[in-house]
Amino acid sequence: MPALHACLVTCNEQVSQTVFRLTLHAPDLALAAAPGQFVNIRIQEGAVPLWRRPLSVYSANRDAGSLRLLFEVRGVGTRILAASRPGTTLDVLGPLGTAFLAPPRGALPVLVAGGLGIAPLHFWAEELARAGCRPLLLFGARTAEALCALDDLRRLDSDLRLATEDGTEGMQGMVTELLATTLAEQPPQQTMVYACGPVPMLREVERICAARAVDGQICLETLMACGFGACMGCAVAARSSSPQPGYKLVCKDGPVFNFGEVDLER
């Protein structure tokens, strides 16, 4: 059940030019949150910025009662968040949204992250590793600098493969090319793909997987005013055969959707 939490910032590290990793003391959230879910943070009191800002759960440590978030500075809200010091209390709403579905027994989970799309997938990889289900983690970005939080990823019990568009780290090219070669080595029914990143990447992931009849899930982002299904602002077109579009709410029906559930072309 989502709830409002007053969370103490215990650490806020800069991991690249524009990316920060924030640790919160949040025992209830750490217990309740599942990979794929997000929290919605009130940046500060007052009316500017008005909306909360949604961020995926990047990591949860139930024993320590801590929750970590990984975010990029994009604008007014994340800039203020980047400046929040240990000792600050944040008003956090969560956990919100749907979680990733466990892979079928015996199937290899293949996680595909583009840029900041790594945030929810890191938590998922953590959980899968904890369950003894060593994931294959494909991570791509424009340059090496944008492959953030590699320190955490390298500590995970996973098979990590990297790609950069400029070739400064790992394979040169798109993470979707890594996916295509990886799937070629794998029997489709023994694979389950999970992807998070920009929409063009997700479209390509769904296309590659459809060609090989591989099933999976994607994690989406939209602007959100509430984050819990009240405003209907976060609608995305649902895939359907009727000419009239129907919509799904990313905050409530998602952010994790099955392949084919939403229409990524619209």
């Binding site: 059940m1 989502p2 709830a3 409002l4 009130r42 009316a47 500017v48 910025p49 008005l50 909306w51 909360r52 709403l93 939209t222 602007l223 005013a225 509430c226 819990f228 299904g229 009240a230 405003c231 209907m232 602002g233 976060c234 609608a235 995305v236 077109a237 009239q244 579009p245 129907g246 919509y247 619209r266």
Partner: protein, 307 residues
């Protein structure tokens, strides 16, 4: 001593003046995790139409300075599913249930109301959404023209004896004239205001931020406009007014009541602080106790204006 927060909106008795606004509180269920809905004076449900509506194409929302724009487009489950799936949930709370309805024509409005009247479930009042700026087929037309507003209200008056509240748009030259028309036609109260027509643009892409280009502005940014509209209406008609626009604290409630509102609705603030309306009720009670205000209703229309 505990302050008496009860107010009357015409025939509608409320345990306190704090309601939640249509379209900003879902069907109530979405807020149940955050507080006991029974603390509210009332819940106004999302606008219901005869048929289900998917709503407008995204993007449907944009953040603005101290406000937001929306072009949700009256997305709703339709009256049948509303009665079957949504209305029963609200019955368990001891708070007024106000069902907000709309139609593309007077006939459609009537059909929605008739269907609701057939239901055995508790409904305490209807709010008539004459004012949504997001529906191409009309919506605003009902409260942009006093003759149309009068005609539609008269038709609906014949369908029900339950309290009728006409919700007005600020996007007209003379809101008082519309208020007068609906009052004459038998509306028990008016609510003011719905959203203001607005627009947001991305200078880099040179594109509008909303899929439907323009949308409705709400939130703290519109509070001064809303107060002015309530004041205008107060001077023109005798029926009670429910004030809406940018309310996010008990101080805001007091301002609206002093200007002439008998009750208020909290809208956009529900998105930011899901238990905002409940906090406002508690804060209002505390304030009245501290200040020795025994009846909050005594504050209504007490604005001091030097002549």
């Amino acid at each position: 001593m505990s302050a008496d927060l009860q107010v009357a909106v015409g025939p509608l008795a409320l345990k306190n003046p704090v309601l939640v606004a249509s379209g900003t509180f879902g069907y109530g269920e979405e807020f149940a995790p955050y507080f006991d809905l029974s603390i509210l004076g009332g819940v106004v449900t999302k606008t219901i139409t005869l048929e289900p509506r998917a709503g407008n194409p995204p993007p449907r929302i944009a953040e603005t300075t101290a406000g937001m724009l929306n072009s949700i487009g009256l997305a709703n489950v339709g009256v049948e599913a509303f009665i079957r799936d949504k209305l029963p949930f609200l019955q368990q709370f001891s708070t007024a249930i106000i069902v907000n309805v709309a139609g593309r024509s007077a006939e459609e409005f009537q059909a929605v109301l008739r269907r609701l009247e057939e239901s055995e479930l508790r409904i305490d009042a209807y709010e008539l959404n004459y004012s949504c700026p997001n529906v191409k087929e009309g919506g605003m037309a009902f409260s942009a023209n006093p003759h149309v507003a009068h005609a539609v209200t008269s038709t609906l008056r014949k369908v029900t004896t339950r309290p009728l509240i006409a919700k007005l748009t600020p996007n007209v030259t003379n809101i008082a004239e519309i208020a007068r028309a609906v009052a004459e036609a038998g509306a028990d109260a008016v609510s003011a205001i719905n959203t203001l027509l607005g627009m947001a643009v991305d200078y880099r892409t040179r594109r509008p931020k909303l899929g439907s280009i323009v949308g409705g502005l709400s939130g703290p940014a519109i509070k001064p406009v809303a107060l002015a509209k309530v004041w205008e209406i107060k001077k023109a008609v005798d029926i009670p007014i429910i004030g809406i626009g940018g309310i996010q604290s008990y101080e805001d409630v007091l301002e609206f009541m002093i200007v002439g509102a008998s009750a208020v609705q909290v809208g956009t603030a529900n998105f930011v602080v899901p238990d905002c309306a409940a906090r406002i009720v508690r804060d209002l009670e505390k304030y009245c106790d501290q200040e020795g205000i025994s009846r909050v209703a005594d504050l209504i229309g007490t604005l001091q204006v030097s002549t």
